[in-house]
């Protein structure tokens, strides 16, 4: 998320970033990309052990199982490999793309748990789906977050040193 956030900042608030912050953020992206890659590989292993302990292998061939595999391979395994290649090649753009991929994967995982696979055994008309007010509340909270971040990042010395206090940042 930090890598993705910086990719967005780099695109839309590039004029606020000074050279020192730019260099530091590249090192942060490389370090976090390495950590994310290894942690996601570890998460994948934990999931495999979880399947093993419950002996759930037989479910992987079902439709729900295939959906689970899409989440695990498509949104955990593959981004982990792309992160690893990006870190090896020192390719920040590749790491940033992998971070967007991972964020989409996290959103997909939360939606799978709270909506898609929640009470999966019930008929569709008895399943939970958020009302328009809940959806608008979510949109409101995300919008407030983005507006607050932009307000702070454009008015305070977050992405650059304050000209009056260059050594205190």
């Amino acid at each position: 998320m930090v890598i993705f956030e910086h990719a967005v900042v780099d695109r839309f608030l590039h004029d606020k970033i000074d050279e020192e912050h730019d260099i530091e953020s590249r090192n942060v992206a490389l370090g976090f990309g390495k950590a994310a890659s290894f942690l996601m590989a570890g998460y994948l292993m934990i999931q495999v052990i979880g399947i093993t302990m419950d002996d759930d292998w037989k479910y992987l061939g079902t439709r729900w199982g295939l959906w689970y595999l899409i989440e695990m391979i498509g949104f955990v395994g593959l981004p982990a490999v792309v992160y690893a290649i990006g870190v090896r090649e020192r390719n920040i753009e590749m790491i940033q793309k992998a971070s967007l991929w991972t964020v989409i994967g996290i959103v997909l995982n939360r939606l799978n748990i709270s909506l898609v696979a929640f009470n999966w055994q019930l008929p569709l008309d008895q399943r939970y789906f958020p009302s328009w007010m809940e959806i608008m509340t979510t949109v409101f909270i995300i919008t407030i977050g983005v507006v607050m971040f932009k307000f702070i990042a454009t008015r305070m010395p977050i992405l650059h040193a304050h000209p009056d206090y260059p050594d205190d940042h």
Partner: protein
């Protein structure tokens, strides 16, 4: 084919056995992945 479990002991013995094999694979695979991940890092002198 699905193994035939008669007791919880049977089930646990089977799943634990497979889990130990998976852990052995993980113990080999994760260091190899780490090696791939850090293979091109600058070597830091520790002496």
């Amino acid at each position: 084919m699905e193994p035939d479990y008669h007791t919880l002991q049977d089930f646990m013995t089977h799943t634990k056995g497979i889990a130990y094999l998976v852990m052995a694979v993980a113990l080999v695979a994760l260091p190899l992945f780490w090696h791939f991940l850090t293979g091109r890092d600058d070597k830091k002198k520790t002496f």
